[in-house]
């Protein structure tokens, strides 16, 4: 009887943790070069909140995590550049040419780009992503300790 009630309480605590993770906020580990210099190539631990996504209070300039439209199991971290209806001008292939393209973000979609456009697979490659793929907004860096604090707005090139 004792083991059963402790099992039940563990299940309940885990469920509460899960609901917080799904609806309030969570931590995320990021790695890769696409968000240099804002995030490290070897990894950061970020605090992510999910409330802005649900209430629609996102603004261009926010760092967001989203499900990749090409690989549905992968979660990627990019910066929000344009919401639906915005006009976005971007450099198509910065390593090879300076050619720019301007598009309007379609309804129900957002445009995301990595801060380090020379090595980032983002909306310039796979197009605008549906808003439903957004998972959370990263607002605070926990690790490494020297970067502890809120995330920088996009550095001007």
């Amino acid at each position: 009887m004792g083991e059963w009630s402790s099992f039940i309480s563990i299940v309940r605590n885990l469920s509460l943790l899960y609901v917080t993770h799904k609806y309030v906020g969570t931590a995320a580990i990021t790695y890769g070069p696409s968000m240099l210099p804002t995030l490290n190539i070897t990894g950061n631990v970020l605090l992510v909140e999910r409330i802005s996504i649900r209430t629609g209070k996102l603004r261009p300039g926010d760092v967001v995590i989203l499900r990749s439209p090409q690989t549905p199991r992968k979660i990627i971290c990019k910066r929000l550049i344009g919401m639906e209806g915005d006009q976005v001008t971007y450099v198509v292939d910065p390593k090879n040419s300076d050619r720019c393209k301007t598009i309007v973000v379609p309804k129900g979609h957002v445009w995301v780009e990595g801060d380090y456009i020379y090595d980032s697979k983002d909306s310039r490659n796979f197009g605008a992503v549906p808003y439903g793929l957004l998972e959370g907004r990263a607002f605070w860096t926990l690790l490494p300790r020297k970067d502890f604090g809120s995330l920088a707005p996009k550095p001007k090139s």
């Binding site: 309480s9 299940v11 609901v19 439209p69 129900g108 979609h109 549906p130 439903g132």
Partner: protein
């Protein structure tokens, strides 16, 4: 003062039990099964226009076992607050040929088009092609927008049963 404190402590304990139980229900709901009310003409004759209650399971799409021919709940790429019920006709890599139903603009051509579904995407269509806004209008949708697979209809009771191909 001590009375209030013990009452407050008991209230917090009771509320936390309720909250934890509701969280447990929610976990079951989003990872196992849920009942969903679906309505609209886009899935006639499979689903009624006035509404059916169906049992949706949320496991298959997480392990990648959702494929062509399945009825799925999918988040709309045009309006993220809406959930659509459609059938998957093709998965990534398949070639899709489709006709747009007669367009409202009579000067536009009414011809069939073909395309290959890109990586990580699926092609969804309603069973009632004449009254359905689906991939023929907004293109293939990313697999990540699928929320669950519909497999059983529970209401109205005279059409209780599994929903097939």
């Amino acid at each position: 003062m001590r009375q209030w404190r013990s009452i407050a402590r008991e209230a917090v304990a009771q509320v936390s039990i309720v909250v934890k139980f509701l969280s447990f229900l929610h976990v079951t709901d989003s990872y196992l099964f849920s009942f969903t009310h679906v309505l609209g003409p886009s899935m006639l004759p499979t689903l009624n226009i006035n509404g059916d209650v169906v049992l949706v399971e949320h496991l298959s799409h997480r392990i990648g076992k959702v494929g062509a021919g399945d009825l799925v709940l999918v988040r709309s790429p045009l309006d993220p607050r809406k959930t659509l019920t459609k059938r998957i006709l093709a998965v990534e890599g398949d070639k899709v040929t489709f006709c747009l139903d007669p367009p409202r603009d009579p000067t536009r051509d009414y011809r069939s088009r073909s395309l290959v579904v890109p990586k990580g995407h699926v092609w969804i269509q309603g069973d009632n092609w004449y009254a359905s806004t689906d991939s023929r209008h907004f293109g293939p949708v990313p697999y990540g927008l699928i929320q669950g697979k519909v497999f059983l209809r529970v209401w109205p009771p005279n059409s209780f049963g599994s929903l097939g191909q």
